[in-house]
Amino acid sequence: MSQVFHEIEKKIITALKNNPQQTPEKLEKSTNLSPDQIRRGIEWLKLKELAIVIESQSITISLGKNGLDSFYNGLPERRLLNLLKNESKKFKVLQNELGSIFGPAMGIARKNNWIDTSEDEIFLKNYPSEIPGEKTLKQIGENKILKNIIDKNDLSAIFKRPDFILENIIKNKEISLTEIAKSIEITTEPTNAINVESKVPDVFVARTHPLKDTIDEIREIFVTLGFTEIIGSMTQPSFWNFDALFTPQDHPARELQDTFYLDGFSTKKIGTLDQIKKISESHKKNWRYSWNIDEARKTVLRTHTTCVTIKHLAENKLDEARVFSLGRVFRNEKVSYKHLVEFNQIEGIVVGKNANLRNLMGIQREFYKRIGITKIKFWPTFFPYTEPSLQTMVYNDKLGKWIELFGMGVFRQEVTKPLGITKPVLAWGGGIERIAMLKYGLDDVREFYNNNLNWLRNTTKCQ
């Protein structure tokens, strides 16, 4: 596989093949590229492990203002000694002659025992042939030279004197090719190929909501299993949410603390006269209390979608049907990582031939198989409106335990008879968030409704 190179990379490789070790500055000349192009090209080649960059640093020194002055006119102490070479002189005379360098010159000369002083005169004691620092001054002169070629001892004599020595740190880069790069054949023919192997930025993908995806997936499974979708109201008179489902009016589930009642809403038309009469009679007979129509009129946010399917059955008296309803249901609960006040539920019913418990279990097993859950079992449970009642337990490998999912059963005759439904009706249903949590590996159900863009933008769609 031949690699695609940028024109810059090609020129650098070619130049380095001719002259194997070059600084960026040299490369600029040998390739005719700009410093910035060279910098980028070297960076690319380095990432591809085609170029080796050896970095080093060196220090040059040159003379500052006072250094140069001393180079031309002699060090201050040399100039002092020269003035004293022939005769001793008075302080004042020397001060006038030397100006600002008089002080430093005196200090050094005295320290080295080259002079002696009386009350107002200065005498020469010794005249040194070479003063420390003079060799260095000569060596540097007007040039820049590498620090490491200078005698360190001699340099130190003047290194710290103000404005004598200027230091300059230079970073050097030497670029060479790796063994692989050396064998690369550069075609000089121009090509429009680009580097298809380089990294590119992410873009945020607009998407349907993950929970909606799960809902759609479940909808499609039941449609292919022969079920037709129906839609019903989220606000319901208690009549359809409770009374029609054999939940007595004094049952704890109907209390404010579990169910959302709408403030001041009493539904005028709750059902046909016949439905109301027969349901109230069934309640009186079986639960032994005085049934109150006002209680049945109270409007609630549906606590399950069963009210939608049972109403559909009562209105259509179907002999052969597979129907389901999918939508929001409500419970007056404290919101927590495992409870929402509003969540989605699916509820399905089967009427007709083969409407029996084993088929109900079979439909469940098929559903779970299609969402990828194969380890399931059925346990008995209790619902007020179905008998027998079962729940599906599914095994979750991640959690290492059995989890309760959909509930199911056969509608009680106390539910179906007053509504004029004569055939057995299978019913099943449950929360969708629970399945979606397993699917997306969430342990906080609230995440579905946070609309956190970081989560929405980064959650894998097909899981």
């Binding site: 945020f204 607009a206 349907t208 909501h209 909606k212 449609v223 292919t224 299993l225 022969g226 079920f227 037709t228 839609i231 109201s233 989220m234 004094d250 404010l256 959302f260 009642y261 709408l262 403030d263 809403f265 539904t267 032994r288 209390y289 409007t299 946010l301 052969e320 597979r322 929001r328 007056n332 609960e333 006040v341 509003e342 007709g352 083969n354 029996n356 418990l357 084993r358 088929n359 279990m361 079979g362 097993r365 098929e366 059925f378 346990w379 008995p380 209790f382 008998e387 027998p388 309760e404 056969v410 009680r412 005759q413 106390e414 946070n450 609309n451 863009l453 970081n454 929405l456 933008r457």
Partner: protein, 545 residues
Amino acid sequence: MPVVELSYSRLQKLIGKVSKKQITESLPFLGLDIESDNEDLVRVEYSPNRPDYCTDFGIALGLQGLFGIKTGAIKLNIKKTNDYIIRVDPSVTKIRPFVTGIIAKNGRIDDDIIKQLMALQEDLHLGIGRKRKKSSIGIHDLDKMSFPLTYTTTKRTHKFTPLNLEKELTISEILENTDVGRNYGKILGNSDIVPLILDSKKQTISFPPIINSAITTVTTNTRNLFVEVTGINKDDAENMLSVVATILQTAGFVLVSAKILGVKNTSPKFELKKISINSNLINEILGSNLSNSQIILSLKKSRLDAVLKGKNIICSIPSYRFDIFGLMDLVEEVALGYGIQNFEPILSPSQTLGQSNTTSIKIKSLSLIMIGLGYTEALNSSLTSKRVLYDMTNRQSTDMISVLDSKSQEHTILRDSILPELLENLSRNIHASYPQKLFETGIVFSKGNPINEITNFAGISSHQDASFTEIKSILQSTLKIGFNLEIETKTSSHPTFEEGRTASILHHGKIIGIIGEINTKTIENYKIRVPVVGFEIYLSDLIID
């Protein structure tokens, strides 16, 4: 669902020869969900329709059946005497007309049994007793009272020492100053007189349905018990009593009858209820092919009695099983006795063809178009708050639909618009990279009878260059390509939108929504730092029927 804690070793003593593992594996098949299982203790959730399962005695009876150790209905052996008479005074008729009771002798009472009896009592009060309103129960030390008793009424000035207290209180004081009095006093209404049980020495035994007297407190020294149930319905009172009688007999007590004399009241008979069922119905519902003898055996394992009579099976149900109303309950008892695990699921070909609802299909299409335009789908609650719906968006809150007694302040009002929640979503994402574009379709609510529920569609775009033109283009093209709908915009105003950059959306001259740039006030309320544009339209009557 209520929970009961069981001890494996106690259960093993009660059931007979079974292993701990057998018990663990069988509990779910009685309908008991194991909540936690820790060495000797196992906590299980039971259904509120089976109060007998709130004691280990009741669960042991059920497991004996499943294991086949003892099957068939539990028969109450009640010794008939005339020693324990309860006379009913006619004054109770209008208040709490019925009383019933039973004597349980020679039992051993330890702390464990006291604990279980109290739990059972609470459970019965809550369930069948409907928080003591329908019926309530009192358990007393038989040896601290003298028969005959009288079930009568008294004035609110009547005094006695109630259970767990050391001094006498009047009825009024009990109702005002004790927890039980305050919780259940309203059952008695404003009546001048209240129910009372007195013994032959005029000692107060009980003040139903509120509290027992301190005299008859049951302790670990108690050997003989008197159980009374009062209520507004005779059948419920007797059903309640039968659960306690069954549990006490199982716990080793000898039952002795109490005789009830007085208006409408009679002594409890604990009669078996008989229901006739045909095997065809059972097999039709279960999808099984069980023979009559298999069915009878299964019913017996569920601790019911059953005999074949002609083509039908006559099933006898003890009175404590008042959860059994009719035929379908018996079908379930057969399924449980046979074992749910023994029914193999089958998948028969569907006789019907399935179909998605057209609303779902259209909403799905709309979503796909929005995705194509770079909008991400949001999902918000229908039940939200006044803060989000009105305060933050400066909208009028005159026609709010609120729910009663919500446990969550963020969920009190049904939404009449989706846009406020989308703005709330943006405010919670100000640290995520822009542009941010969201849409949502969902139900919104408005007053009516019944409540109007219509489907709305809202979209929102937020970035440095967001403009009216951008959002109008989005909506216009979406409706055009999705449903071949043409829209127009007419200058308008709205408290959430910027004056001069707001328009009503019209289709064939009818207003279907609002579009524009969100005003500075709203954006500042939400602490959003970039411009926002958005729209919301009704889909109902536009693309949805």
